[in-house]
Amino acid sequence: MRKPLAGSSIRGGAVAKRAKSEAQAESMLEVRDLAKYFDVSKPWLARMIERAPRQILKAVDGLAFDIKKGQTFSLVGESGCGKSTVAKLVVGLHKPSRGAIRFEGRDVADVRSRADSAALRRRWQMIFQDPYASLNPRWRVRDIIAEPIRVFGLIKSRGEQDEKVAALLRQVGLSPVDGEKYPHEFSGGQRQRISIARALSSNPEFLVCDEPTSALDVSVQAQILNLMKDLQNEFGLTYLFISHNLAVVYHLSDKIGVMYLGRLCEVAGSKELFARPQHPYTRLLLETIPDLEMTGREREPVAGEVPNPINPPSGCAFHPRCPFANDRCRSEIPLPTERAGHTVACHAAEEGRLPDAKFPAPKRPSAS
């Protein structure tokens, strides 16, 4: 149900231009109407005794986004918004309850044969959040890194495999002798480097990064973020980046999707999103960014907390915290609509009831 939007015609030209330049880049990943429901009911017997109904957690509900080749798309949101579930759906750790994931235009669900599936899996890899749980403590680092090589049968000879592992270790800033050691001999940041080396070992084109720096100290985070950018420039990697840290996302992304309780509120280019946030929830999130410029800006903290995702509010899930909510917001789920380069799911934005963003645009905007 897309209604023509006030204001969209004015900026129409710019939008068309932008859309055209975007269309030139090929899509790496397209996600359509993606949903994942979890049955979190109590066991059958307990349910019968307590006469409790089945409980369904809609972790992800009706998500749609595209990731262009060589770009970084980020999903941000608070805990429980479903962003990690999206990452797991994309790499096949969960089966979607509904919807399609298309990798280079090909629906992943259609790939059935083992050989095809392996050919596809080789091309994407995942980097995890917890550097202590993501490496098997009983394996030597060289075996950890070489696992994808072995599984996909990329290099048969042992000597070449060792060379490749040594090259990967050097690539991520470690030394080839480190391959002989076990994960416990490394710090958190070094473990995350090993994780990245493992992910790169099958020469993937697409990396799904689930909060890869959240468990790291800032100085180490900077090292890892720099490494990720270097690798992207060198190999033309495409990233799906999951994070709760807005500044990290701003630093890394080309395009950002903001999630709230399993749905996308707003999708826009990185600079654009931070300069002109549309959805009230995006505005709330931007409001929480700490003021490291020391401008003395007094923030007014937003009231309310994220509701329980098992019993989300009716209509727009954000309405209990939204200052612009009306009866329609309380009853009808807003659908994503295009508006000035943003895809926004908000009745107020659609009806033009939102005041202009009072969030100060980036203080030092880039020349572009």
Binding site: S117, M126, F128, A133, S134, N136, E147, E185
Partner: protein, 314 residues
């Protein structure tokens, strides 16, 4: 030398790593553990090299002399230095029968533990990693079996197996039946521990990383999950060895274990029991002491291992 070098040190030799490890440190600083290890090692070595270690071969009829029967221990009035711990009713040297007996006890105990570890860890791993109806069936079976005392289960299996085995093979197969009976009676403990540990490991990200690249579930179980659940299983197996030896001794004492032709410690105690009230106390007492010392030593080792491998207690 530090425990966790920052990635700047060279890999060190295995021996060096073992001597430098926290586990070795905790071992060498616990006198009781060192003593238990020495005692256990003595039992193991004596059992393994029984034909060379034992002063007599108690099962070679040619060397037996009924005139030597009921010789008391060497320090008693009628004792002989030839038979340090005395002899039994057939003139067999008690020390030698103990050495040969612990050999049988240890073989049965070890094999039974191995059997239940393979069964229990295998089922526990499948249940924990795959979940679903398989988990429900395996774990309910384990629950049901745990409500029955292990010794009863072993007795039952032993009884059933004896009926199935032809008469002339009974003595020959008795030891295997015993291993099977004790092994089956003990698997639920391993299954439970393995399942619990596998449930934890299954959700760790290194397993996800293997799943992302499409490693087969069986391979993930064997190569990733299994090595990481073996710690608690090792502790359990050590204490399980002590339990299996006791179960074997109990069964043999009750007369359903190994036959008197190849007696275990339990059989020896039973045989000696007949003479306890006629004054020949040494026939039953010394095998009993041997059993207690062996079980205690293995148990203490197991206790130490549990504490040493538990990061919370360190």
């Amino acid at each position: 030398m530090s425990d966790n070098p920052l990635g700047v040190s060279r890999p060190t030799s295995l021996l060096h790593r073992i001597l430098d490890s926290d586990i070795f440190y905790s071992f060498s600083h616990s006198p009781i553990t060192v003593l238990s290890a020495i005692v256990t090692a003595i039992f193991f070595l004596a059992a393994a090299f029984a034909p060379w270690v034992a002063p007599h071969n108690p099962f070679d009829p040619a060397t037996l002399d009924l005139l030597d029967a009921f010789t008391p221990p060497a320090w008693e009035e009628d004792g002989s230095t030839k038979f340090l711990l005395g002899t039994d009713d057939q003139g067999r040297d008690i020390l030698s029968t103990i050495i040969y007996g612990s050999r049988v006890s240890l073989i049965v105990g070890f094999s039974a533990v191995l059997f239940s570890v393979i069964l229990g860890v295998g089922l526990g791993l499948l249940a924990g990693y795959l979940g679903g109806w398989l988990e429900t069936i395996v774990m309910r079976m384990a629950d049901v079996q745990l409500t029955i005392p292990a010794i009863l289960v072993a007795l039952m299996i032993d009884g059933v197996a004896r009926i199935l085995v032809p008469v002339h093979l009974r003595d020959e197969l008795a030891i295997y039946v015993l291993i099977l009976a004790i092994g089956i009676s003990d698997w639920p403990r391993y299954a439970r521990v393995t399942r619990g540990a596998a449930l934890v490991e299954r959700n760790k990200e290194y397993v996800s990383a293997a799943r992302v690249i499409g490693v087969h579930p069986i391979k993930i179980m064997l190569r990733h999950v299994l090595p990481n659940v073996l710690g608690p299983v090792l502790v359990l197996a050590t204490i399980g060895l002590a339990l299996a030896i006791i179960t074997e001794a109990t069964l043999s004492f009750l007369g359903v274990g190994v036959p008197p032709t190849q007696p275990s410690l339990g059989t020896l105690i039973r045989i000696g029991n007949n003479f306890l009230f006629s004054g020949e106390w040494w026939i039953t007492l010394f095998p009993s002491i041997a059993l207690v010392i062996l079980v205690l030593a293995v148990n203490l080792l197991g206790d130490w291992l549990r504490d040493a491998l538990n990061p919370k207690l360190r």
